[in-house]
């Protein structure tokens, strides 16, 4: 029996109707597409009246298939599927045609747009006839959550979930949680002590009964899908027994090997070969850096082992792979600092007194290598003048096109600290001053009043080549002052580069493990930049903090909490619907060649050694079609995207507009004649 197809063409106000003659599309479809029983246009199909119209037609006109030509299925597929379901039609017998994003928004010629819309409607109408009813599946949501990254965003997310009573695995690759915030002295614009507001959260996370802290650990592999992920985590060997160690710190104190700490101290301080990155570290358990430890490199020393009061040192310890099961994953992996040596004109690495902002943060920090004294690289001389250069590696097409969002405020904060702690003059070289959050502009006004100098212009060069006696022995900042309209050379003792925030070097790799993608700049891609900033295109995987895009502490905290709220929603709901659009393997036809086995990005294909055939685990399959395309025998079928449906769609789309037009004109002429 022929299907009875209903076609509904949406105006979307003038969004579609402005560039597509929707009445004509509806009229044409009604007359020319086979098996079409109803073809209508309507102002807003997604309105309750529009939906009611579909429901009514299904009931009274006996429609068996529905095509809605409107916006992207991302927006309203659920809406129209629900409308069909309300009228008793299987929701998968409804097909959406995108004539907004794919036609009206990318088209200026109304006649051409109308023809394209007809072709797309024709494609959907031909395919929808071959669509089959599908039944959704449900899986339970494991209430445990994996949070990757123990910076402020991850901490916030972990604590929110743990406080709500749900188990959390918090994975951090450094020996301690805390992230970049633990390195700072003060936070803008309130000038709270960074450690004072962060460490209570750290110790709370460390002691929380619902949080399993996995520091010095990295995510190895993720399998499964929303509601039921299985995650392999590598716990790197600390060479210190976690249970025996009391965190007394005597091992670090007695360790004879000192090395430059390039992580926590940003390269301007030292640590020992056995170390805990900072006094408030959580956990307090140190780790041995095997690359610098004398015992590991030369085979003797073992001082730490001798002095340890609890015999906690274990040189034989090995990396440990553990497996945890979680329902959701939150990535809060943060950022890394732009390598300023990539901009040789600023002299970083060549001119001693050029510092990165992170180095400078450590200089200012009372717990830092200089006990908070702002001094030159020699460790004793207080600078008489300091230049702070904005946008180093950001807002620059050669490095990172985007704005790092925090540097203007951080520069103001650092300027304030210099003015507070020294008698130095402070110059800020900025392109635009961006102080657009609560109390930020006020902080800028405060620095103007405090006497920080502001020069508007991008610095061309920092050099030590003096041109006159005043510049002798100084670093000269060469810049076009765009407000004065002339070149300036400002001699200073010290230069601070406000370096860009960049995605972590392995962000993409980690994203792939979790099935999410990165933007061109390398930040994780959210599901919707405005309306869904912490969800991703992979259900059950959320992002929070700077890994999603440069942002400051309040915004990171807000995202951490938002991601936790989304996860809590999933946990409360208890089960998630899984689209029945999955692949199936015809076991009769499968020759067990195993091409598909390691392709599946969701690890949904298993091999039956006994029958020598591959099989899709429906609950894990996301219907991506990779295996369908790869199966050399052509025996994997993607439900909702089978060959018959796709070929029908192609044939519908290739409907010949020109031929049909001539035909119609001839018909009209013969009628009028």
């Amino acid at each position: 029996m022929a299907e009875r197809v209903g076609i509904y063409v949406c105006h979307c106000g003038s969004n579609i109707a402005g560039t597509v003659d929707v009445e004509e599309v509806a009229r044409w479809a009604g007359q020319h597409i086979k098996d079409v029983v109803v073809s209508k246009d309507y102002k807003f199909m997604c309105s309750s009246l529009g939906q009611a119209m579909i429901e009514e037609d299904i009931k009274t006109k006996g429609l068996t298939r529905v095509v809605v030509a409107a916006c992207s299925p991302h927006l309203h597929e659920k809406t129209f599927r629900r409308a069909c379901a309300n009228a008793g039609l299987n929701p998968y017998l409804c097909q959406m045609t995108n004539i907004r994003e794919h036609v009206s928004w990318v088209c200026t010629d109304k006649a051409a747009g109308t023809e394209k819309a007809k072709a797309l409607v024709s494609a959907s109408a031909e395919r929808v006839k071959y669509q089959r009813p599908l039944e959704p599946m449900y899986v339970d949501v494991n209430p445990a959550t994996l949070v990757v990254g123990g910076g402020i965003a991850g901490l916030q997310a972990a604590l929110e979930l743990a406080d709500a009573g749900h188990p959390v695995y918090l994975v951090e690759r450094e020996p301690s949680i805390g992230g970049h915030m633990a390195q700072f002295d003060k936070t803008f614009p309130t000038l709270d002590c960074s450690a004072c507001i962060l460490t209570p959260k750290m110790s709370e996370a460390g002691q929380h009964e619902n949080i399993t802290l996995l520091t010095y650990s990295e995510l190895e592999e993720v399998s499964g899908s929303v509601g039921g992920f299985t995650v392999k985590i590598r716990k790197k060997a600390r060479y210190v027994d976690y249970d025996k160690c009391t965190g007394c710190g005597i091992c670090s104190e007695k360790c004879p090997r000192k090395v430059i700490d390039t992580v926590f101290e940003a390269g301007i301080g030292e640590r020992k070969a056995i170390y805990s990155p900072f006094p408030q570290a959580v956990p307090r358990i140190p780790v041995i850096d095997v690359d610098s430890c004398l015992y590991f490199t030369r085979g003797k020393c073992q001082v730490c082992s001798k002095v340890c009061p609890t015999n906690a040192i274990d040189y034989e310890q090995k990396d440990e792979l553990i497996e945890v099961k979680v329902g959701n994953i939150i990535l809060a992996t943060g950022w890394k600092l732009f390598d300023c040596a990539r901009m040789p004109q600023y002299g970083y690495g060549r001119l001693a007194n050029v510092f990165t902002n992170l180095e400078f943060e450590r200089l200012c920090n009372a717990a830092g290598p200089t006990n908070g004294k702002i001094v030159l690289r020699d460790g004793k001389t207080e600078p008489k003048s300091v230049a702070i250069i904005h946008c180093v590696g950001s807002r620059d097409v050669n490095y990172n096109e985007g704005c790092s969002a925090v540097c203007c405020m951080a520069a103001l904060k650092l300027g304030h600290l210099v003015l507070e702690k020294t008698n130095a003059e402070v110059y800020s070289f900025y392109i635009d001053m961006r102080t657009n959050q609560k109390m930020y502009e006020e902080f800028y006004q405060r620095l103007l009043a405090e006497g920080m100098h502001f020069v508007r212009g991008k610095v061309a060069e920092v050099t030590d080549a003096a041109r006159n006696p005043d510049e002798q022995g100084k670093l000269i900042v060469q810049c076009e002052d765009t407000l004065l309209g002339r070149q300036r050379r400002i001699p200073v003792d010290m230069v601070v580069l406000m370096s860009a925030m960049e995605p972590q070097a392995d962000a993409k790799e980690l994203g792939l493990k979790c099935g999410i993608s990165c933007s061109m700049a390398g930040w994780y891609t959210e599901r919707h930049p405005k309306l869904d900033p912490v969800a991703t295109m992979t259900d059950g995987v959320f992002v929070a903090g700077v890994c999603q895009g440069a942002k400051d502490i309040p915004a990171s905290v807000a995202q951490g909490a938002a991601a936790a709220a989304r996860v809590q929603g999933m946990i409360t709901k208890g089960r998630v619907m899984i689209e029945p659009i999955v692949a199936t393997i015809d076991e009769e036809g499968c020759s067990g060649c195993r091409i598909c086995n390691n392709l599946c990005p969701y690890n949904a294909i298993e091999f039956d050694e006994e029958k020598k055939v591959s099989r899709v685990i429906a609950a894990l399959c996301k219907g991506c079609g990779t295996c369908v395309a790869a199966c050399p025998a052509g025996v994997i079928t993607g439900a909702h995207f089978n060959n018959q449906q796709i070929f029908a769609e192609i044939e519908g789309a290739l409907w010949d507009a020109a031929a049909a037009k001539t035909e119609e004109e001839t018909a009209t002429q013969s009628v009028s004649a």
Partner: protein, 328 residues
């Protein structure tokens, strides 16, 4: 098999003759064939005249096993004639089914084919540059040769075909299976390939694991391990994408499948299928390295992936002869 004797025709067009030999490879079972059928036409094995066929009633031949592709006007005529006279027309073997090796000449046009055959090959001595022509004037009158078309077509690109028997040539056992099916009237729906619905791996005893290919080797470069999947060892084995039926003969003697049985059911383009399967198991994420793996290991993609199926594939001619395709 007690019915009245049926009528059988066997014809060859653009093919090597191997299919006719394969038909005889069913050994003494050929006697059973002759018990069941009168062989009314089989130019390779018995004398027969085209005008005898022309005089037959439409549909008088019960089964015609047609091997070879359609390259000339004569072959085209014979295909049309035998179609008309036969109840069941079987595209027998890879040439009729998919174009096979003669179909690879579709990479070139007629002009280039003639240049190769009548000028460029080292064994050719042709100082007057004589080329085959449709019409040749001689004192006695006009001589005609069949028109050599620019494009080789498969049988079903020329006339409607009822069944396909794949293989270059089809294996004797499969031929016998098909004959039995015909005799017993147990044929699949028209348009089907008579054969297995799975691929060569199903018949291949080698051990397979998950596939990751870092480098492709030509067959002369390595001596493969006899127990492990050849593809996993970097040999371009078409078995994964090729219809079963041969019993995995080539892989069993340490030689990769070259794909003569064509694609599995519902696969429209053998080469494209194989390429998309391979593309997914190349073990690299780096575009430069992937390119290198492909270029070094697969120097002749058409010859590797479309050796048998070019004429029937979705690939379309880029090079038609300047004077058209020769089809009238």
């Amino acid at each position: 098999m007690s019915k009245a004797k049926g009528k059988l025709a066997v014809y060859w067009a653009a093919s090597c003759g191997g299919c006719d030999i394969a038909l005889l490879a069913i050994d003494d079972k050929i006697l059973k064939v002759s018990e069941a059928f009168d062989v009314v036409f089989w130019p390779c094995a018995a004398d027969g005249k085209v005008h005898d066929i022309e005089k037959m009633a439409d549909g008088e031949i019960d089964v015609c096993l047609f091997n070879g592709g359609i390259r000339t006007s004569e072959q085209e005529y014979m295909a049309q004639l035998l179609r008309k006279k036969s109840k069941v027309l079987v595209a027998f073997g890879s040439c009729a089914h998919e174009g096979c090796i003669p179909g690879l000449a579709n990479l070139n046009n007629r002009q280039e084919c003639f240049d190769t055959a009548y000028r460029d090959t080292p064994s050719t001595e042709n100082p007057q540059n004589v080329r085959p022509r449709h019409e040749t004037q001689v004192p006695e009158g006009t001589l005609y040769l069949p028109v050599f078309y620019d494009t080789l077509k498969t049988l079903d690109q020329t006339v409607p075909v009822d069944y396909y028997l794949p293989g270059c040539p089809p294996e004797a056992d499969r031929i016998w299976d098909a004959i039995v099916a015909i005799l017993e009237g147990k044929l699949p729906p028209p348009g089907s390939v008579i054969g297995s619905d799975t691929t060569v791996c199903d018949e291949c005893p080698r051990k397979r694991t998950e596939k990751k290919i870092k480098k492709f080797h030509r067959t002369w470069e390595i001596i493969p391990d006899p127990d492990t999947c050849l593809l996993e060892q970097g040999l371009l084995c078409m078995g994964i994408a090729t219809r079963a039926g041969c019993g995995a003969l080539c892989p069993q003697v340490n030689s990769p499948c070259i794909g003569c049985y064509g694609p599995n059911n519902d696969v429209k383009d053998h080469g494209a299928r194989m390429m998309s399967a391979l593309a997914s198991v190349i073990d690299s994420q780096d575009p430069g390295e992937i390119q290198q793996i492909i270029e070094e290991g697969i120097p002749d993609p058409v010859g590797s992936f479309y050796r048998f199926g070019l004429a029937h594939s979705l690939l379309r001619r880029g090079k038609l002869a300047a004077d058209g395709n020769g089809h009238k």
